[in-house]
Symmetry: C2
Subunit: 339 residues, 2 copies
């Protein structure tokens, strides 16, 4: 076993689009756990769109990622050494270990990890469908959208870690589910594999008007609920077709993370259609996590909730994989395999 | 008594800004009430921003105002002749009689009028503070904003029929209340007469940046609740200063009624501040009206809720007064006195 821990730190803040030069790979000694602590070897690192926001030095819901410190991120791994009574060597754990191969953690507090059962669910899924992205989909759909059977639910970034959960949960509620995704392959997947009723390929729409026409054909009765992962012209198209008393859960504005703010073309539609538009951050709603995770785990084990992963191999590939995620090159949940 | 009823119909739909040429004054015979009906002589006609939206032939929350028919509008008046067992000659009633001097009404159904007590509250107030505008303020504040004591509430069009109610109700809940209004006189009024803590004169701000600075000075702890009557750059300024978990009740987008849609500059703030932005139309929430009206009437009688009216004299002045309302020339609730 090596005695060195490789890690990726934020070297500089992006001006405009992020690039690989914003990251720096370092080697440091593997840390030693103190009293009550454990040493975790990470098997998978999670890459998520929220990380792009943290790279800026701007007011947001979270503190900016400090320069020269390990990039924040969810991890799953195995306990290699333990001074914590409730965590044993060999336990599989999920936590926020960051973009590195090893981390020090404990059973509670800010560096806490939680034991997971890797016997029936693959370890990497705890970073996706039965992790933060899955609960994000569950919360936005159930706590904000609250769709009823027969209503039409639209979800953008439909093949992604969050969108795929939203659509499958909405289908189980008896909704008509329309995905929006980039490219024929992703659209085919959400319809054929995930069971969505329809999917709009926004890349096939040459302009906003064409996008609206495709969406109208896919959602002929209008849209009652929207789970928004994207923003920009996709949100404009959805907003224009919302039914009265529609609900929009705002989970992501990925098309705004780089460069200038994207305006919303017709905010008056919020009034004329009497919409509720609500932003949320799933980490601020810890009370729902146990219920959501139990439901998601049961769905994965039972085969009613499917998911897909893009796996990059090796920590050094994390920046490239992350930049690909921001431009939609991933297909499903993006993780980095570290073992 | 004359036998003719003067009325104003929609002569044409505006392209761009509305003008007096969109209206036509007509004289027709006073109608005769049928079985179960009453004849009402209108004392006051209400002018409200929503009427501008009805003049367009566009999808909105309400059907367009038909051409060549009497303009829709709230009215208060007196029963002149009655074939309805529950309405007597001399009763004062409020209803939707439209832009005319007389109307046929009944005790229920689409042309219904409701008896009001004009002994302790002036008749015209049933079109404003103890009418639709007052309930609008009550609903948006209590059902959507739900402010807590100590929170900061901002209301645009603060000296108007709706905004003045919002601010006074919020003050009674122990909030810091900041108005936004056009001109020193209106701002002085909402602070000195209505008891707001501060007021931002948006006309005194030369540009959006100056508007934001004025707002920041008036709401130094940020904004928890916004009752939005205006939209456009005013909403952009408010949105940029909303605190986490803030609530925005969208009641009006008056600056969008004429011409092209005004975009919202930074919709991503809905996510980063985890806001709830909700549009509403008060007529769709009939269950709250009795409670709201009772509270508003008690406030007016007790002197804790003050209001102001702009009164135009004579039906023929209604178009001019209405156009003035759309550009903020009114001060307080705009009515037309018809007797």
């Amino acid at each position: 076993m090596t005695t060195m821990n490789r890690r990726i730190v934020l070297a500089s803040r992006p001006s405009g689009a992020a690039s690989e030069s914003n990251f720096r790979l370092e080697s440091v000694p593997i840390p030693v756990p103190g009293p009550g602590q454990v040493l975790v070897r990470h098997h998978y690192l999670s890459l998520d769109p929220y990380m792009r926001g943290r790279m800026n030095d701007a007011k947001s819901y979270a503190e900016p990622q400090p320069l020269d410190e390990v990039m924040v991120g969810g991890t799953v791994g195995e306990v290699l050494a333990s001074n914590a009574p409730t965590l044993a060597v060999g336990d599989k754990v999920v936590g926020m270990g960051g973009w590195q191969e090893y981390s020090i953690a404990s059973a509670d507090g800010p560096s806490r990890v939680a034991k997971v059962d890797a016997s029936r669910i693959p370890l990497s899924a705890y970073l996706g469908v039965v992790g933060m992205p899955g609960v994000t989909g569950w919360y936005g759909l159930n706590a904000i959208c609250e769709p009823k059977a027969g209503e039409t639910v639209v979800v953008s970034a439909a093949s992604g870690a969050v969108g795929s959960v939203v659509g499958q949960l909405a289908k189980a509620k008896g909704c008509r589910v329309v995905g929006i995704a980039g490219g024929r392959e992703k659209c085919d997947y959400v319809v054929a594999e995930l069971g969505f009723d329809a999917c709009v390929d926004y890349k096939a729409a040459g302009d906003p008007k064409a996008l609206r026409a495709l969406l109208r054909a896919a959602a002929p009765k209008g849209i009652d609920c929207n789970f928004e992962n994207v923003g920009g012209t996709v949100l404009d198209a959805v907003l224009a077709q919302m039914n009265a008393f529609g609900r929009i859960a705002v989970c992501g504005m990925i098309s705004r993370y780089d460069g200038a703010a994207l305006p919303l073309a017709e905010p008056a539609l919020i009034l004329t259609a009497r919409l509720k538009v609500q932003g949320f951050i799933v980490s601020e709603h810890p009370a729902v996590w146990p219920k959501a995770l139990a439901e998601l785990a049961a769905g994965v084990i039972g085969g009613t909730i499917k998911y897909r992963e893009s796996v990059a191999q090796g920590l050094e590939r994390a920046p490239e994989a992350f930049l690909g995620l921001l431009t939609g090159r991933n297909f499903g949940k993006q993780v980095v395999r570290l073992v």
